[in-house]
């Protein structure tokens, strides 16, 4: 019993100090501090409501962001100047936009010429090109023709288009007519393509045989012997006096932010950031709540003994054989739990869990100590003995288990989210892994999408495991011998 009395004298402060004397404790505490810092940053930088709005906002707030973009630092890994997104907005008055409107005398028709030009110096093709129109019209709909002019001077007529709404998006690279005109251009100038080549490739490749295959195509850069720009030229007719037309060109890159983007163009780093406080809060709350409830039940079982003890012991044996995870999965699939309801369900499913048995064993030891006998002798009530004499005594040896079980809950939440049963609102790591997994990230090679949230999960788990490990050595010193 020497270890019991030794551990009983440990205060929280001294435990913390001693944890830091172990290498594993130092590393664990350092990672945990980093995660806590990240959580604080997340909560301050992106308030809760905004985080949820951004995560649920789907395309409307992310429309200028590339789909499935790589993290920015992939540039350094791949040693390639991967394209970033280029936005040239005529409405905002960006440089590179030339606009000329001429009225045709005697009519209320206006001729409009919009030229949007930009330089392109990246080592890879863009992922997508879209054109946004802001139109003012009262009588007939504006009619436009769009041309694509490459730095080498080749001029490709892309499409004739009628703008049917005041705010329209023309998805250039997935538009059938644009694709047809681009292929037409390749056929008449270079030859028959060997395979399917993407529109953005034709738009940005050097015009020779190399462009007939995606493998050989070279990017036509703006820099070089002469600096010439890419230009998108819009010629159109507007009807009515107040009619006007502005356009914004977005050339989507292949990198974005620290963690890339997902299939809905959302910035994954939001989920990585916000996943941290959620995981920490969920893991700690579940672990703490379950430990406390199990502690109380174990104390009742051990202290009162007899029938109560018998019933609680049989219940724990039943709980051990109940299919815990299938139950949890069934409940969350039938009733769509938010994360805090999940904590409650977890609590119910583990009230009589295995922890009760080990804690009860501690209670049985403490029960025999002389000072409990002394307390009984002076007539202390059961409640007084339990809360003032037994629980404070068995609390320290429980702490390693409490800390050590945090990762289990973090992974549990991640597993549920991975099965598509996560909290319907919150962005969590498990949800990102689920999104990535169900959208074929493995096959398409979007490894950061699965890898980054997994690394966050592992960091969290390892930090608690290391701290728990160090605590265990302090609180149960017998382990130190081995």
């Amino acid at each position: 019993m020497s270890n019991m009395s030794a551990s009983g004298e440990l205060s929280i402060k001294s435990i913390v100090r001693e944890v830091l004397t172990y290498r594993s404790g130092q590393v664990g505490a350092a990672i945990l501090l980093f995660l806590i810092g990240l959580s604080i940053y997340a909560v301050i930088a992106i308030p809760y409501d905004r985080a949820i709005a951004l995560w649920r906002g789907e395309e409307s707030c992310w429309i200028e962001v590339p789909r499935n973009a790589m993290p920015y630092w992939y540039k350094y890994i791949m040693r390639k100047n991967l394209p970033e997104t280029i936005v040239v907005d005529g409405l905002r008055g960006d440089p590179g936009v030339i606009k000329a409107v001429t009225e045709i005398p005697g009519t209320n028709i206006k001729r409009i010429l919009l030229e949007i030009s930009f330089t392109y110096d990246y080592d890879d093709f863009p992922s997508e090109v879209n054109l946004f129109f802001y139109a003012n019209y009262s009588e007939s709909l504006p009619l436009i023709k769009i041309y694509w002019i490459k730095p080498d001077g080749s001029n490709i007529p892309l499409i004739s288009y009628t703008i049917r709404r005041p705010y329209t998006i023309l998805y250039l690279t997935i538009n059938d007519d644009v694709q047809k005109s681009l292929l037409e251009f390749v056929r008449s100038n270079v030859g028959e393509p060997k395979e399917y080549i993407e529109p953005q490739l034709i738009m940005f490749a050097v015009n020779d045989e190399t462009m007939l295959s995606a493998k050989t195509a070279k990017i036509l850069k703006s820099t070089g012997s002469q600096i010439r720009k890419y230009t998108l030229r819009i010629e159109g007719m507007l009807f009515g006096k107040d009619s006007d037309l502005n356009a914004k060109l977005v050339v989507y890159g292949k990198v974005y932010g620290f963690a890339g983007t997902d299939h809905l163009r959302r910035d994954v780093s939001i989920a990585l950031l916000w996943g941290t406080p959620i995981a920490l809060a969920f893991g700690l709350t579940s672990s703490l709540a379950i430990s406390i409830v199990q502690l109380i039940i174990a104390v009742i079982s051990g202290w009162y003994g007899g029938k109560v003890d018998f019933i609680i012991q049989r219940l724990t044996e039943i709980y051990m054989i109940i299919p815990f995870l299938p139950f949890l999965i069934m409940i969350s699939s039938l009733y769509r739990l938010t994360i805090w309801v999940l904590v409650a369900v977890l609590l119910v499913l583990s009230i009589f869990g295995a922890g009760v048995k080990s804690t009860r064993a501690l209670v049985m030891q403490v029960k025999e100590e002389p000072y409990i006998e002394a307390a009984l002798a002076y007539g202390a009530s059961s409640r007084r003995i339990i809360f003032l004499y037994i629980i404070p005594k068995i609390l320290p040896p429980m702490i390693p288990g409490l800390i050590g079980s945090v990762p289990g809950f973090v992974f549990l939440e991640a597993s549920l989210a991975f099965l598509g049963l996560g909290d319907p609102f919150l962005p969590t790591w498990g949800k990102v892994i689920n999104d990535a997994f169900s959208n074929g990230a493995f096959y398409k090679g979007y490894l950061w999408w699965i890898g980054l949230p997994s690394i966050m999960l592992i960091l969290t788990a390892i930090s608690f495991a290391l701290i728990g490990f160090a605590l265990d050595k302090i609180v149960n010193p017998r382990l130190r011998e081995w």
């Binding site: 109940i322 299938p326 409940i331 009733y335 997994f437 090679g445 890898g451 592992i458």
Partner: protein, 364 residues
């Protein structure tokens, strides 16, 4: 003489059998309880009722639409007949009674694996019986995770023994330092394994059970299955590796400080014999306990691991059922898991009878 031996065998067999029967009854009662809880939870949202009603309605519609005597009738008339028969059937089966009564009917259905019909999923043979959909996947799950548990068991046993012999050495310290890595579950290691060996190196499949199309001759079929098992097995082995070895090493160390080991050493017994008879033998029950806990845990862990590796087992069915909100299959899965868990525990109890003399001694 012969009769006496027979009597002796009878005596020594009777006790253990009685013990197993008692355990079996206790475990079955827990299964009953699990199934009942499942039904109550699922029916809080009325799900079980809907499963049964949908099945009755489908059966009736099927019989009536095929019955030649109704064929000439206008569709509205047929619909009315179907509805009337359906309501009559509900009354006949007592489905208009309060839930407490119905719940016991459902309990019996659940316990006899009469799990109803799936809403969307079908079995490989095309059946929509939940029982068939689930049971057809059971062998794959059992195969993968029993293999994983057994492999883990032997790896932990032998490496643990090795470490306990070289206790305090560099390797020993390394295992202690790395033991926190076992907190990460197998499926998460699996994600990284797929990334490395499938996405980047392209030497092993992303997942699945067998190549598509499956090879014709049984040998290459088996090899193909083995190839698909490499990554899921590795993920579980990596996950349990350091902690498992560390744990069994500690068991052996505890037993190697017992007095009888010291006596054996003093007698000058060779170290191999001491190890086998005096350390490994008594350490076996706790080691088997950790094996059985691992096996029991693997049924739950299987759900996620199978999803990650697209392994066509119980867990994969669970994910498919969740994705298509196929409630009968979800409820059926919980019931099958309850049975699986109880059967595993019972088998391990029987195993204990063989390896732990203390349990056998009770029956002498």
């Amino acid at each position: 003489m012969k009769r006496r031996i027979k009597k002796l065998i009878k005596m020594s067999v009777k006790g253990p059998i009685l013990f197993i029967v008692k355990r079996a009854i206790a475990l079955y009662l827990i299964v009953v309880l699990s199934v009942y809880i499942t039904i109550v939870i699922a029916n809080l949202g009325g799900y079980v009722d809907r499963i049964t009603q949908a099945q009755i309605l489908e059966d009736i519609t099927f019989t009536i639409k095929r019955d030649p005597q109704y064929r000439g009738l206008p569709p509205e008339e047929v619909d009315r007949i179907i509805r009337d028969t359906y309501e009559l059937e509900l009354k006949k089966l007592g489905l208009d009674t309060p839930f407490i009564v119905r719940s016991f009917r459902y309990l019996v259905n659940g316990l006899t694996l009469d799990l109803g019909r799936a809403l969307y999923l079908t079995s490989d043979t095309g059946s929509r019986q939940v029982k068939l959909i689930i049971l057809e996947r059971l062998p794959q799950t059992v195969m993968l995770f029993t293999t994983a548990s057994v492999l883990n068991f032997f790896i932990h046993l032998f490496l643990g023994l090795y470490l306990s012999r070289h206790y305090g050495g560099k390797l020993d310290k390394l295992f202690i330092a790395l033991s926190p890595t076992s907190i990460v579950p197998g499926w998460l290691y699996g994600l990284f394994l797929i990334m490395i060996f499938a996405s980047i190196l392209r030497v092993l499949p992303y997942g699945g059970y067998v190549d598509v199309p499956p090879p014709d001759d049984p040998v290459s079929y088996g090899l193909s299955v083995l190839k698909h098992m490499i990554l899921p097995l590795s993920s579980w082995i990596i996950s349990g590796f350091f902690m498992g070895v560390y744990g069994s090493r500690t068991f052996y160390l505890i037993f190697s400080t017992e007095d009888y080991v010291t006596v054996a050493k003093a007698k000058g017994l060779p170290p191999r014999i001491i190890e086998r008879r005096y350390i490994l033998r008594p350490a076996l029950p706790p080691v088997i306990t950790s094996f059985s806990l691992g096996l029991i845990g693997s049924w739950g862990g299987a759900i996620i691991t199978e999803t990650v590796f697209n392994w066509p087992g119980l867990g994969k069915v669970m994910r498919d059922a969740i994705n298509s909100m196929d409630t009968p299959v979800i409820v059926g899965e919980v019931i099958i898991y309850a049975y699986l868990l109880a059967i595993t525990v019972l088998l391990l109890d029987i195993l204990y009878l063989f390896i732990d003399p203390r349990i056998r001694a009770r029956f002498r």
